[in-house]
Symmetry: C2
Subunit: 287 residues, 2 copies
């Protein structure tokens, strides 16, 4: 290896890793090394620039905590998370979108028709739809696992110190025998991703804002089907065309319609909604 | 941006950054985004793999301190630091090599002929040579800034708690009117880079060792010339062909010769050496 130069060093580094032949690990690592090295050669990276990049990663570590993963945020604003969601979406299935940092896997189980708002201010909205497979067959027993911000753009988990319950505005709900799900909640508002750290500095350096378009989060599951993690957005809402984490897809935008007559809604609801949103989910088979 | 897909998202992310036209920052950022996205598409990265990579970066942050920069270590073992050194070496000048984590910018100034060993065990070695420009003219007044491990492979700065002085085995020495530098020290031994963190896990996963070939560190400076940061290695030493951070270059390997007769050395030295090493440095003009 004493004869390496800027062109042969990449091969030397790749072959220094000695793993199982044809392993996924080796492939992921070798391809990563190739791209990193190609990048350095392509931009003719200086020592100063190299050091600033490594210090940026160091600073991301300094602000990270179990509750704040600055590298996920970095992946989000660089569109990397969106790209991973896109390439992992199965043909015919609902498109995937950001999981985000606020998911809890033990949300309370609620009944169909429940109201998640629990007295919160804001527009009461009925969210309903059908969960189907890619052939169009309804999937009775499918579950939605949903979480969202409130009408001020805040997740209750972010305001636990102000007395909020982190399990509010979250629910696991099982679809009925026709694959239908329905519940009422409060309409979420847009919010900013955290921009008081290194990723915020990057956004400012690039003259970018930190706003996300308002959305509802979902993980939809059914035995034998591939789960999807996605978000539902609202037609004509702010930031649909410049969401800070590139989460919006055309197919994930739902129409928000006023509910004029309560009698027009043929569902057993805990609370009368002011508006409604219809969104159907489609799951592809596992494997 | 609601129409993005896995092929158009890269352009969308690039154009979301709005910086000065043709700026270096924009170029570095756009090229980085291209490589990151190409990587994800090329390997078809899964959500699990994506999360493991981000958690690896998170873990590097958790073990990093002002004294330990796990991202520099990562850059080192991926040959990135070596590549940056290589592309920033000027034609005709001494090749660059790793700065490493142990540099202090306020090493003690010492006289030509000084002994840096200060009673330490090990082989006493004379290190000498000439500092020239790329035309072969000696550079009187050039300085070497050197630091090194001891004969057990440890830097005194690593053993401050055991009573060692962090400024030991370091010196700034000015060359004489012929551009010559010379001093005695103790022959350094190989050592391992820190492998008790995430980077160590990566090395183990790739069946790699953490050993560095024994070396002397240098920064060589002269007004009007481009400083070089490099390392000098020893012929026939261990790990020259599999140095953990890819720091060895053929041109940086010096011959270690026994000193049989003290009278054969025509230099005013503080201590009689057992062996000698000759290495000349060449600096290119600034700019």
């Amino acid at each position: 290896m004493r004869d390496v130069n800027q062109f042969t060093v990449t091969e030397a580094v790749k072959s220094s890793f000695d793993t199982e032949d044809g392993s996924r690990f080796q492939f992921l690592l070798e391809t990563f090394i190739e791209h990193l090295h190609d990048y350095v050669r392509e931009v003719n990276l200086t020592h100063d620039e190299w050091m600033r990049m490594l210090n940026f990663l160091y600073d991301c570590g300094q602000i990270s905590t179990p509750e704040r993963h600055e590298y996920i945020l970095l992946s989000d604003v660089l569109g990397l998370s969106a790209l991973v969601d896109m390439i992992n979406t199965r043909g015919g299935a609902t498109e995937g979108s950001n999981l985000g940092p606020f998911y809890l896997d033990d949300a309370p189980v609620k009944e169909l028709g429940a109201d998640l708002a629990e007295g919160r201010e804001g527009v009461s909205v009925l969210v309903e739809g059908v969960i189907r497979d890619t052939l169009g067959n309804p999937l009775p027993g499918a579950t939605i696992d949903t979480w969202q911000a409130d009408s001020s753009g805040t997740y209750p988990i972010q305001e636990q110190e102000q007395g909020q319950d982190k399990y509010d505005l979250r629910a696991k709900i099982t679809a009925d025998e026709q694959g239908r799900y329905y519940y009422t909640t409060v309409l979420p508002k847009p919010y900013t991703v955290p921009y008081d750290g290194p990723v915020g500095e990057l956004l400012r350096a690039g003259n970018r804002h930190a706003w996300r378009a308002a959305h509802l989060h979902y993980i939809v599951r059914h035995p034998g089907m591939r789960s999807i993690t996605t978000e539902v957005f609202f037609e004509n809402a702010e930031y649909l065309d410049n969401d800070a984490v590139f989460g919006v897809r055309k197919s994930l935008i739902a129409k928000l319609e006023p509910v004029k007559k309560a009698s027009a809604i043929d569902l057993p609801l805990e609370r009368r909604p002011d508006a409604k949103v219809h969104f159907d989910f489609t799951l592809a088979p596992e494997g």
